[in-house]
Symmetry: C2
Subunit: 305 residues, 2 copies
């Protein structure tokens, strides 16, 4: 199944206890596409960059198998730039600089050939733009949406409409609580699912993720990493692995959604092992599958005796 990805493409500056990088390819659409492209064909990227976008980054995306018909270069300005710093425990980060640049005027125009995409990934951007995307697509089997606190507090009305129209919402535990005013995640999940999404994924960072559906709750563990270099993009990468694998499997079922959550977790666990997308540029399906099996092994509860 084809995968459409809409989101930001950026350059990131990242400071973390393990070191720093001044400028590396980032943005939600980048992480999602790069992760999804390990599984899905075609992966169609809609995003905008500025005049400073590096040809080698463009080449990387192309060589990695990302379809760039929806990729736009806006020569009137520079690429979105974000700079952040992670503190010692890696659980808190501070934004040091945000330059929206050409991303400020991003208007997602979906190319005709992309409109029939079967799986649609709405990266974490203004919900008003996410709605514009939903208005243009025609044959989606599964729409998957990410968001963040910034939009929950700042663009609530549009976000509520997005939530009422998508099939899968992906948020973290804090966002689920903020979205509902309910501190208990089980109750929060129920409230969110009643807003529309058939499936809800609540990510809990180092504590794994929950997948809630009509039929069941699935508790996915996180991969126990002894070293985390850079968490940037891990959530987007999760979405890319999730949507990409589902696309590859060619069937949306309860069982496959569980597998997809684990493939999303696998990709996210690789993502954080190096700065930026670096670790995601040179994986192979064999090692991805091996880590999937490690997740399984770690989670097996034997039958009762």
């Amino acid at each position: 199944m084809s995968v459409l990805v809409v989101g930001s493409i950026a350059y990131d500056g990242i400071e973390a206890p393990a070191g720093k990088v001044d400028r590396t390819l980032g943005g939600s659409a980048t992480y999602i596409s790069v992760a999804a492209a390990y599984f899905a064909r075609p992966v169609r990227l809609v995003g905008t960059v500025g005049s400073d976008f590096d040809k080698k980054d463009l080449k990387f995306l192309k060589d990695h198998g990302v379809d760039l018909e929806g990729f736009r270069t806006d020569e009137s300005g520079l690429t979105f730039f974000w700079k952040g710093k992670y503190h010692d425990d890696m659980n808190s980060r501070e934004t040091l600089d945000t330059q929206l640049n050409v991303f400020e005027h991003f208007d997602p125009v979906i190319p005709e050939v992309y409109k029939g995409s079967r799986i649609v990934c709405l990266g974490n951007i203004d919900p008003v733009l996410q709605l514009k995307v939903l208005d243009q697509i025609t044959q989606a089997q599964l729409t998957v949406c990410d968001t963040m606190n910034f939009w929950i507090s700042g663009a609530r009305e549009a976000l509520e409409e997005v939530i009422s129209r998508v099939d899968v919402l992906i948020v973290n535990d804090e966002e689920a609580r903020e979205l509902t005013g309910e501190s208990n995640l089980i109750k929060a999940a129920k409230i969110i699912r009643e807003k529309g999404p058939k499936y809800l994924i609540i990510k809990k960072g180092e504590h794994g993720a929950f997948l809630y559906s009509e039929q069941s709750v699935f508790a996915a563990p996180a991969y126990p990493l002894s070293t985390i270099i850079d968490p940037t993009g891990a959530g987007d990468t999760f979405m890319g692995g999730f949507a990409g694998w589902l696309s590859w499997s060619d069937r949306i079922s309860e069982e496959n959604l569980r597998r997809a959550v684990i493939y999303g977790s696998v990709m996210a666990s690789y993502c954080v092992e190096k700065f930026g997308v670096e670790r995601l540029t040179a994986l192979n399906r064999f090692e991805i599958d091996r880590r999937y099996d490690a997740f399984r092994k770690m989670s097996v509860i034997p039958e009762r005796t």
Copy 2:
């Protein structure tokens, strides 16, 4: 296999968002024994109470199947009393009152017939007392130990000796970090296991628990409860379910340890549904097994396609 439980027996006063109780049976040894007695025979309790200990509580323990040859009534004073208050999110609690009373002079003397107990549960008490217990037992197949921050900072040397001598250490994530000075749990687990315990269980409250052994890591989910009335004793109850089920299974193996972690989690999930030990007084094996199966269902990662 016989189970020996050594710890505190107390009366607790508990305030929580859901209500309050002025005086209810509590203490680590109580919760451990009551949970273990659903599986194991005999469950042998070593603890001390004061002159105010209620006959109906004694009758309850007896009727529940707890062997009380090691139970002592010290007429010179009152039973250990603790009073605490849980805040809205249930994750933080405040101690309002602690009256050690006769527990201050608790000296665990293990009755002759108890010394050959096969599974030994050291509840969360002064590690100096835990060592005294270890010195008296002769045929333990598995020693299981709980502790808390108070002893990590206040009785470090004795605690390190306990840790070097037990088979299973059970701590929560904060305690694991404090014990090692290492914020990453994987690294902390490695450091702790090098101190001696063959198995380490790190409890993460609503995020489940990890079981670390030589061979593997097991990630157990927590049961998704929409209402938590009173978390008091949940950790002790976990230990009781863990040790009790292992005793019932009659075989210490990697697979059975995983099952035991889930049975511990099942019992803890019941414990928090009502105040004090109330929910633990009227369970049956059928509903316990049903919840075990719910844990399994929630955790199943399908094989790769």
